[in-house]
Subunit: 169 residues, 2 copies
């Protein structure tokens, strides 16, 4: 492998660009712009066969949920918002900062979603409720441990978020 | 900016390397290898001033919790495990796959932690319980919406994970 990386000046202050290798990809029947009703979707995550063996999943079936980190790489980088926008471009909801919403057109275009594990088989993990499109690169998979979760009754969020989420899953 | 990227052959099958620009960094008094008792730690996340304005946080204070995605970039890439290991190298716990644990020495070295929001001020966000070291690059910040969380009582996890987590926060 020959790889050469030159950057005469950073476009990000003194912070370095981070290079990640996808660990796998999403196989899903959802290929297009779906915005809602992800709860019933069953998707597969297939580990990259050149780098991983099924052992990387050993013990995962003892967990009920997994967090999937992936990239919305189908969205053009030029559409990324860095300031404020109305969630879903809905003028009835307030214009909030990009880090006060979970919209996809965000810096680095990363999605992070907790899904129910359906099955683990070889290099394939099937999950329920993954809001990713077919072909999305997967950056990490983490088993969900209850201690990492806040009590839902202690989670406070604005009214627009409740309204948006009411039909999301 | 001059940037040149050449890759004669990919080390990752047909999946492309992903380049991310950190959105900010972690400012914390925790500089070294801490493994436990993160619950009381207050850390600051400072947005990169060359790319963001305080408006990117507008409305975040209406949420109680934020999920922080960051990279454990202090860990040498050579220490990353891609197969199986005992969590914490503890032989009393089973040797499980790297995607069946949340250990840091994992492919892409990403951390994803839900934290309580302490304050938002300009480009600075203060949070409680962030298990990141000082200087870690931050990849994304997402407000926590209850609908993305499973009910804690429905989360199933093995005994070793309960034991490990009992002193984590």
């Amino acid at each position: 492998m020959l790889r050469l990386y030159l950057s005469a000046s950073s476009d990000n202050g003194n912070m370095r660009t981070i290079q990640l290798e996808p660990i796998g990809q999403v196989i899903s029947e959802i290929e297009n712009e779906r915005e809602e009703r992800w709860g019933g979707v069953i998707a597969e995550i297939r580990l990259e066969a050149t780098r991983f063996e099924p052992a990387a999943f050993n013990g995962l079936q003892e967990f009920s949920h997994v967090e999937v980190l992936f990239q919305f790489d189908q969205l053009p980088e030029a559409t990324v918002e860095t300031k404020t926008r109305h969630p879903r471009e809905n003028p009835n909801w307030p214009k909030v900062g990009i880090f006060a919403q979970r919209g996809r057109k965000r810096p680095n275009r990363i999605g992070a979603t907790i899904c129910e594990i359906v099955s683990v088989n070889g290099l394939s993990l099937r999950v329920r409720g993954l809001d990713a499109f077919h072909g999305s690169p997967v950056l990490d998979l983490k088993p969900v441990m209850a201690e990492f979760l806040p009590e839902k009754k202690n989670v406070r969020q604005p009214q627009w978020a409740r309204e948006l989420m009411s039909t999301y899953f």
